[in-house]
Every structure is written in structure tokens, then in C-alpha cells.
């Protein structure tokens, strides 16, 4: 635990006016630090988290400026270079001055496609996670707060969703609705909330019995007010931790769906899909086609996981290990 700078000053005997002033300032400073600011300070001191945050920012920039990669290389994301980008046998060509990371089976520039692929991963990762967490929070709050029939019903629903492997469920849903970016986001968002909802429910169950909730009820607050004003702020920390740790999971789920050929349909550039396509070509020696999209995906999930770990440690320095899934 860090101490305020005031502790360092009061070493000597009689306080001089100078130290008194300094102490006053320091005391004010300590007073002004909310738990959130303390958490931020802890997070900022964690080198691994800061480095991974830097990596995440770079990935976001790559996604935003993907067209710049296309312009600089002169290779469009869908552009097929059948003459220069494929060997006479029609196989992908390796990394070179023209194609920095090589080409894929259609003679397209892998570097440019990885840059565009970052867009899909990030958009799905963030939006679907956001949806998941919102649904989970609402369900968890309702189940935990209302209890009785509502809780029994929602708890059974959660059990049921957890009894079907999510990937299998997602595949079934996507195959029925039909593939597409929005479908992937909605399927992950609306059906992946069960495990988070269970955690939120557990937290709400214990908070519901606290005196301040009773006080609010005695003052005439309605259930919605109590849930939003009194309970939600107290479960927001685990929700934030979950959100950061869910993003990489969501990115992997999206990539897995695309890998299985039922995510974002081609020719949209997508990392999972690129890895799937490359699986037919690595035996012809086209290692770059497999390796570079894999690295892009791995670096992204790794950065988010390290950052998520840092956020968890910062919000709860004692370590809330049950937050792991």
C-alpha cells in the first residue's frame, strides 16, 4: 500500500510552518483520492499493463488506419495479384519487398488483410462484450434482487445456457440465422452472458442484505432505484474486470466462428478465416500465410489479457481470484 507523501515529511521533531503547510497539502491530496483514482494510480505503476495498453492502442490505430496500409503498399484489401502475388503453380508467394508478409491463396497482400482484419476483431470484441455485460448485469441484478420465482427461473435459464457448450450453441444459431458481422455480434452478446450473470447474481445476493439497502427501502425507494443507485455501483468493479477479461475471449470466439467458416463471410478480411484458408497451404510451404494472421490474433488476445489482469489487480489489490473463468 502506498502512503501519502505526508508521512515522509513528519520525520523530524517540532513541525515547522513549512512542514505544516506541506502536511496540509498532503492531507488534502490523500483526501481527494477516490478508490477509482487509487486504482488508476496502481494501474499506471504496472509496467506490463502499460506496455500491453500501448500494444492495444497500436492495434486500434492499425485498424483505424488500415486504408493507409493499403495506400502505402498500393495493394487493395480485395485486390488479387494473380501475376505477381502467386507462383506459376498458383501458390502464395512468400514475404518480399513487394509483399512484406507474403500473399494468400488468392494473391492478396497479407499485411493489408491483417490490418483490415483488426477492424473485425476489435469491433466484435468490444461490441459483443459490451452487449454480453449489459445483459448479464440486468439478468444478474434482477435474479439476485427479486429472488424467489424470478431467481429460480433465471437461475435455471443460466444453468441451461451453461450446459450447452457456447461454441456449439453459437454455431447452431449462426447456421440458422445466416452468417454476417451483426449476427456474430448479436449471437455472442445475447447468449454468452450466462457465466457473468451468475457472478453478478452472487454479488447482488450478498449486497441485498446490507443495512444501506434496507435503509433505502425504509426510505421508500422502489426496486429499480435500489438496484441502480444502491446495488449497481457496488458490483461495478467486478463487472469492469469481467469486461476487460471478456474482450479477448470474445475475440477468440469470433475468430473461431470464422475459422469454422460460419463467422464473417468472405471476402471480408478476418483473422480466423485467414488461418482457416491457410490450413490448406502450409503443407505447400506457405508458412507466412498461417503464421502472420496467427501472430496478429495471439498478440491481440495476449495484450488484452495482460491488461485485464492489471485492471483486476488494480481494482482489487488483494486479488479476487474467483473472478477467473
Amino acid at each position: 500500500m502506498s502512503l501519502g507523501s505526508g508521512d515522509l515529511i513528519t520525520v523530524g521533531g517540532e513541525p515547522t510552518p513549512d512542514t505544516l503547510v506541506a502536511e496540509g497539502l498532503a492531507a488534502k491530496k490523500i483526501e481527494g483520492r477516490s478508490p477509482w483514482r487509487l486504482a488508476m494510480a496502481r494501474l499506471r505503476r504496472d509496467h506490463a499493463s502499460m506496455i500491453s495498453l500501448g500494444v492495444i492502442i497500436v492495434i486500434v490505430l492499425v485498424a483505424i488506419f488500415a486504408p493507409v496500409f493499403a495506400a502505402l503498399t498500393g495493394h487493395g484489401v480485395y485486390q488479387e495479384f494473380r501475376a505477381t502475388g502467386l507462383t506459376p503453380e498458383g501458390l502464395p508467394v512468400g514475404p518480399s519487398g513487394t509483399f512484406l508478409l507474403g500473399t494468400d491463396d488468392q494473391g492478396r497482400d497479407i499485411l493489408v488483410r491483417i490490418a483490415y482484419g483488426a477492424r473485425i476483431s476489435l469491433v466484435v470484441g468490444v461490441l459483443a462484450t459490451f452487449l454480453t455485460v449489459v445483459v448479464a448485469a440486468v439478468v444478474g441484478l434482477a435474479a439476485g434482487y427479486f429472488g424467489k420465482t424470478v431467481d429460480t427461473l433465471l437461475a435455471r435459464l443460466i444453468d441451461m445456457l451453461l450446459a450447452i457448450p457456447f461454441l456449439l450453441f453459437a454455431i447452431a444459431l449462426v447456421s440458422v440465422i445466416g452468417p454476417g458481422l451483426a449476427v456474430v455480434i448479436i449471437v455472442i452478446g445475447f447468449f454468452g452472458w450466462a457465466s457473468v450473470a451468475r457472478i453478478v447474481r452472487g454479488q447482488v445476493l450478498s449486497i441485498r442484505e446490507k443495512e444501506y439497502v434496507e435503509a433505502a427501502r425504509a426510505l421508500g425507494a422502489g426496486p429499480w432505484r435500489i438496484m441502480v443507485v444502491d446495488i449497481l455501483p457496488n458490483v461495478i468493479a467486478p463487472i469492469i474486470v469481467y469486461t476487460t477479461l471478456l474482450i479477448p475471449l470474445t475475440i477468440v470466439t469470433e475468430a473461431s466462428l470464422s475459422f469454422l467458416g460460419i463467422g464473417v463471410p468472405p471476402p471480408t478480411a478476418d483473422w480466423g478465416q485467414m488461418i482457416n484458408e491457410s490450413s490448406l497451404y502450409y503443407t505447400s510451404g506457405a508458412w507466412w500465410f498461417l503464421l502472420f494472421p496467427s501472430l496478429a490474433l495471439l498478440i491481440t488476445t495476449l495484450a488484452f489479457n495482460i491488461f485485464g489482469d492489471g485492471v483486476r489487480d488494480a481494482l482489487d489489490p488483494r486479488g479476487l481470484d474467483q473472478l477467473y473463468v
Binding site: 435455471r156 450446459a163 475468430a255 475459422f259 482457416n276 486479488g319
Partner: protein
């Protein structure tokens, strides 16, 4: 204990029933039904043929009739027949199950050993170089999508080895144990490693965290004060208590994976339950989908009950009710 089991089994059956209803609903809402009959009838088929096929497969009947038919068959232990080859779903599942079982059982043994050992070492030698290495590796594999690891292993141990004349592992496919135990083993090594490393990572982290909590408890100090050897303190007193969350996670993971390690089976061309499910979903082959989903859901439900019962064994304070 008996009351606990009965209660949980009844609840489990309710969950299973709901699962079948949900799968039926999803299928009924989607366009799958029309497609199945049309695909089966072939390109030149008249609408009459399509209608006839749909009729024969009950696809033109209301949801409740189809579901009733499914239930009445199920009560006789029959999961029905697939739409395309008229094979019984029971036999399809029976063919796929040993493959998934081989894959998951082997991988599970590997990952629980790797995960718990590295977790214990990390916790006991907290902040040492070994701890940092293990936690770092755990984070790496935890972040690694299964198919990425699978293909990277194939790239190195199948492709690179092959071009240098070493044919250590097959690129894909499954050899039954009965045909050739060595072939069976050889074909499963890479899938086992893939699934084990990806899963072990979570166990390293879980065991480490849980072990760190437990080793700070008073009774550990008491055990040390009694003069017990450190090894005995760690394994008999510490690990036993620390294992509770690990066992929970293990039960759930194994249960879910019995429904097919979908991605691993896909990467290594192992025609297990997950592989079968993906194929069935692509063809909208409802009886097969339902069959696989039921197997998975049953495995998950059973795993949950076993895990809860196991608590009582690990921790005498837990009372089952």
C-alpha cells in the same frame, strides 16, 4: 447424500428437457427444414418430390408433432435417424464417442498434471524466476486460440519434420486403438498437447491463486509448527484445500469437452462428436444435432453433480442437501 442426488438428478433432467426444447425451437424457426428436403430431393426435383420427402421426415408437421415424435422415440432409447443417410443417430454417436473420449481423457490427464504442478510450484516459490516463467507461459497459452496452437504444432512437428524426412506424426485422421495402439497414440499426441496446453494455462493460474490463499491460513502455520515436513504441509494440508476450485473447473471443462473438442477435432481431422456436430449443423441435420447436444448436456449435468458430490469428499465441512 441420497436426497441430494435425487434432487440434482431431477433438476438435471429438467435442464436436459429444456435443452431439447430450445434446440427444436431454433431449428423450427430457421430456414433449415425447407433446405433439408430440397437438398435431399436433388436439383431436378419437382415440388411434389420435395413435399413428399418433407412429409416422410415429418418436416411439414407442426413443431409439437415433431417434438412428440422425438420424445416417444427417445423414451425407447432411440435418438432417431439422420436425414441424409437414414443412419441411426445412436450408431453415429457410438462411432464418434470413442474418438472424443480418447482425445479428452488423454488431454485432461496431461493438463491437470501440468496445471496443478506448475500452479503449486508457482505458489510455493512465489515471485521466483520459476514462478514468473510459469505464470508468463500460462498467460501465453491462456491467450492462445486452440486452432492457432494446433496449426503451429502441425507446421513444426508435421510439416517441417516431414520435409526433413522425419514422419513422426500424421497430419490428420484417427486410428482406432483396436486397429493399432501405436497408431492411435501417434495420431493423438499433437491433439493431446494442443488441448492440454491451452487448458492447463487456466489451471496453473487457478491453482496458484487458490494455493496462495490457502498457504496463508492459520492451520498451515500450525502444521508447520507441529514440525511436519514442508512437502507434507504443501501436499497434504495445502493442496487438498486448494484443490476445491480446481476440481469445479475440471468437472465443468471435461463435461463440456465430452461434447466434442470442436476446434481441436476440426484442426486434426478427428471425426469425434464436435466434428460430427459441426457437420450436422452445416447440413441442418436435426436428429444428429439433437443427439450430440443431448450427449454434451448430459455430460455437463453429470459433471456438475459429480463435482458437487466430490466437494463433500474434499471438504468435510460441506454438507449436501
Amino acid at each position: 447424500m441420497a436426497r441430494f442426488l435425487i434432487r440434482r438428478i431431477v433438476l438435471g433432467l429438467v435442464v436436459l428437457f429444456l435443452v431439447t426444447v430450445v434446440v427444436f425451437l431454433i431449428f423450427y424457426v430457421g430456414p433449415g427444414r425447407a433446405d433439408v428436403a430440397r437438398t435431399l430431393a436433388g436439383r431436378e426435383a419437382t415440388p411434389q418430390t420435395v413435399a413428399l420427402i418433407a412429409h416422410r421426415l415429418l418436416l411439414d408437421r407442426p413443431l409439437i408433432v415433431q417434438y412428440g415424435h422425438f420424445l416417444s422415440l427417445l423414451l425407447h432409447g432411440n435418438l432417431g435417424y439422420d436425414y441424409y443417410h437414414d443412419q441411426s443417430v445412436n450408431s453415429i454417436l457410438k462411432a464418434a464417442f470413442p474418438i472424443t473420449l480418447s482425445l479428452v481423457a488423454g488431454a485432461a490427464i496431461l493438463w491437470i498434471i501440468i496445471g496443478v504442478l506448475t500452479g503449486v510450484v508457482s505458489a510455493v516459490r512465489s515471485r521466483s524466476l520459476l514462478d514468473r516463467t510459469f505464470t508468463g507461459l500460462a498467460l501465453l497459452f491462456y491467450s492462445m486460440p486452440t486452432f492457432v496452437l494446433g496449426y503451429l504444432l502441425l507446421l513444426i512437428f508435421y510439416y517441417e519434420f516431414s520435409i526433413h524426412g522425419i514422419h513422426a506424426f500424421p497430419g490428420s485422421g484417427y486410428t482406432p486403438f483396436a486397429t493399432s495402439p501405436f497408431g492411435w497414440f501417434r495420431g493423438l499426441v499433437l491433439p493431446w498437447i494442443t488441448l492440454a496446453l491451452v487448458s492447463a494455462a487456466a489451471y496453473t493460474r487457478l491453482t496458484r491463486g487458490s494455493m496462495l490463499d490457502v498457504m496463508g491460513e492459520d492451520y498451515i502455520r500450525t502444521a508447520r509448527a507441529k514440525g511436519l515436513s514442508e512437502r507434507r504441509v504443501i501436499f497434504r494440508h495445502g493442496l487438498r484445500a486448494a484443490l476445491t476450485p480446481v476440481v469445479t473447473q475440471f468437472g465443468i471443462d471435461v463435461g463440456i469437452l465430452f461434447g466434442g473438442a470442436i476446434i481441436t477435432e476440426q484442426v486434426f481431422g478427428l471425426p469425434g462428436l464436435g466434428f460430427t456436430a459441426v457437420q450436422a449443423i452445416e447440413q441442418q441435420d436435426l436428429p444428429v444435432i439433437i443427439g450430440v447436444v443431448l450427449v454434451v448436456a448430459t455430460a455437463v449435468v453429470v459433471a456438475n453433480i459429480v463435482v458437487d458430490a466430490f466437494y463433500a469428499v474434499l471438504d468435510p465441512r460441506v454438507r449436501l442437501h
